[in-house]
């Protein structure tokens, strides 16, 4: 018997492992990624340093170093040992090179024509224009679009380019030229500054609470209470009917709604003779889109509440119904004074569970409207998915998406705590005082 007290732990070990690998780790990583600027551009491994058009634009915008940016964006021509050596290798005449070295070593030219003019001024100049152009090309110096593995390499290159940088300028430089991801709080700043964020937030609140109140709790209660007062056979029938959407594969379920709403679908066909133009009823207007989204989710969501509430009503002793009946309570009063007070805990459970589940579920919206028309039905979870994992341009912003997801996690936790306080969870789960 001594060993068996650890048996439970051993048996739960695989579960713990799965929780850690498939739940805790992703959540933690989301928290970490939310504070990075990871995207398809940065990759998820380390990056390099590169002066590019966009990094120079950033240098101008963010660090107000437009002079340096302008210079680094240019190509210059410098007569240096490296160039001379390269030319010697190419087989350029040694006399030409010696003369070039003597007259121009260390000089820089802004324009190609200037360096060509310098070559032409030599006594031992190459004969053809083509050779001059070829030679001048060997002295072309630029830091544009070259990847440097470390910032030391980058600064060395810039130094050689003839643009010594101060310490502050170096910091700014490495900031704008780094192509890998970095830790940053910019995601959240961006989130707050974007007007789309507010729209998405309002969409989400509207979607969650309308679906929750009208269907997942409200309509579920109506179903549970009305089937409670039916005879067993019809009650069973009605409950099974409402379970059908739940057991239909989501893709098929949404496809049927689409068939209903398409411009050649059921609604258009039926309404056509009545003088309505055929149209895509689902994506016609934002109001229509929302109606469909809430119906699609509600029809599925109501069944779970209905089951929970039905079984909770069944658990109320029938003598309480008898007692209230002889006390003079009609059905409405029974619902108000007997059923609803007894359903406090199930209602709490369904409300909080479905709030969280609706907050994070976007599969029906993705399948039905993809957030359309024009982003009118884009909710937070869907935005997160589109930003981080799927968009047309193929530029996936993992960091920003993770930041969006992180907000969802925080909101979820906050709401759970609020519900528990609101419904007085402790007294609800206290051991019963009556046996």
């Amino acid at each position: 018997m001594g060993n068996s007290k650890h048996l439970g732990l051993y048996m739960l070990a695989p579960a713990f492992l799965f929780v850690i690998v498939f739940f805790l780790t992703p959540v933690l990583l989301t928290g970490v990624f939310g504070f990075t600027n990871m995207s398809t551009a940065t990759g998820i491994t380390g990056g390099s340093y590169m002066v590019s058009q966009s990094s120079m634009q950033a240098l101008k915008d963010r660090h107000d170093l437009s002079e340096i940016a302008k210079k680094l964006s240019q190509v210059i021509y410098t007569i240096d040992e490296e160039g001379l050596n390269a030319a010697a290798q190419e087989g350029v005449d040694a006399g030409t090179l010696a003369e070039l070295k003597a007259g121009f070593l260390g000089q820089s030219f802004q324009k190609r024509r200037a360096v060509e003019r310098a070559i032409k001024s030599l006594d031992n100049r190459p004969s053809s224009t083509r050779a001059i152009k070829k030679l001048s090309a060997l002295f072309e110096r630029s830091v544009l679009n070259i990847r440097y593995d470390t910032e030391v390499d980058l600064f060395a290159a810039i130094d050689k380019f003839g643009l010594p940088l101060s310490v502050a300028e170096k910091t700014a430089m490495s900031d704008v030229t780094y192509t890998g991801w970095v830790f940053t709080t910019d995601n959240f700043k961006r989130m707050i500054s974007l007007p789309d964020t507010m729209t998405t937030l309002i969409n989400t609140l509207f979607y969650v609470f309308v679906t929750l109140i009208v269907f997942n709790t409200g309509f579920a209660l109506v179903l549970a209470i009305s089937t409670h007062y039916m005879d067993a056979a019809s009650a069973g029938f009605f409950r099974s009917v409402w379970l059908l959407p739940r057991i239909t594969p989501p893709v098929l379920y949404v496809l049927m709604w689409k068939w209903l709403a398409w411009d050649t679908g059921f609604l258009s066909t039926v309404l056509g003779p009545l003088g309505f133009e055929p149209r895509n009823w689902m994506l016609d207007t934002p109001a229509n889109a929302w109606t469909f989204i809430i119906l699609i989710n509600g029809m599925v969501g109501a069944s779970m509440g209905m089951l929970i509430f039905s079984s909770a009503i069944k658990a109320i002793p029938s003598s309480l119904f008898y007692a209230s009946e002889v006390d003079g309570a009609n059905r409405m009063q029974q619902v108000r004074h007997i059923i609803l007070p007894q359903l406090r805990f199930p209602i709490l459970f369904i409300t909080s569970y479905q709030t969280l589940s609706l907050l994070t579920s976007f599969e029906y919206i993705l399948l039905a409207t993809e957030g359309g028309p024009g982003g009118a039905t884009e909710v937070w979870a869907l935005t997160t998915y589109l930003k981080a994992l799927s968009n047309y341009a193929g530029a996936l912003e993992y960091g920003y998406g993770a930041a969006l997801a992180l907000v969802l996690v925080v909101v979820g936790v906050f709401l759970s705590i609020l519900y528990l306080k609101l419904f007085d969870f402790k007294t609800l789960t206290a051991p019963p005082k009556i046996e």
């Binding site: 309480l320 008898y322 007692a323 009946e325 002889v326 003079g328 009063q333 019963p432």
Partner: protein, 352 residues
Amino acid sequence: MRILLDNFTKSFGKLTVIDQMNLEIHDGEMIALLGGSGCGKSTTLFAICGIHKVNGGRILFGDKDVTNITSQERNVGVVFQSFALYPHMTVEQNIGFPLKLRKEPVEQIKRKVHEIAEMVHIEVLLHRRPGELSGGQQQRVALARALVRRPDVLLLDEPLANLDATLRLEMRSEIRRIQQETGITAVLVTHDQVEAMSMCDRIAIMDEGKIVQITEPRDMYVNPVSDFVAGFLGSPPIAFLEGRIEDGKFVEPSTGVHMPLSADVATANNGREVRVGIRPEYFQPGNGAMIKGRVSFIEAQGRETLYNVMLPDGNILRSIQGSHSPVKIGDDVEWGVDTAHILIFGQDGLRI
């Protein structure tokens, strides 16, 4: 208020539980519906309060036909076996619930609740919830809730079954006291003959959906109409012997016991096969008709002692004796039956 069941019939699906029952309950009377489980006593109660719809016949409260009136409109007070208190309401809200549903003014509800709480002695418990009450206190609350709106009839469905033995004794007299104080017509459904006999003015004993006998408790004990009634009332129960009437005597063939019978019964039924019922208090040492047997079981009940005496053919007679005698299990005894008090039943079970 007088309650009348007139040819009341109740069936569940194809099963007829109660067929054409007639019962009149007088105004202010407390009547017991007594019977074993499945005899239809609770069904009758649920029909009176309107929870069950009747399938035939009429139910009258006073002169008013309430057969097709819903229970909400019948003005009955019911105490359920489980008390059926609303767990989420305080005692005060529980008692005031029927009044609240009638939309009586708040002040009036408060006054009435306090009055009735005083009567059932729970005025200090008004702010508790049912979960914080003992069984007896819950019982009193249920009683108060049933009484608070002055119902035409108080219906009690096994009200003492969920209480422990001492509480049961206390609540027995409390319910009776309150019923008599209010003068309300009351129906008590019970399977316990002691409750029925101690609390009620009359007992209607039921078997298989029929009222077998309805009379006052003492009369029912002394003059049962059938062996079923005789067997149901009395604790410890009556013992039966089978035999025949010969020459003015009851003869038990296996033991040859003779018991002289009253002349008119004996001559009218000479030669008939009968069962005689002998209550334990009438089988005592020193009585007239002696019977030999062996003591098979002794149960000391404190003030009295119960002896089971096995006759040679295996039949058992019971004797309850006030004084403790030195008899032990296995002893042979020869005690006598008080033949003036034996009950004689025909083969059909009916009293002769």
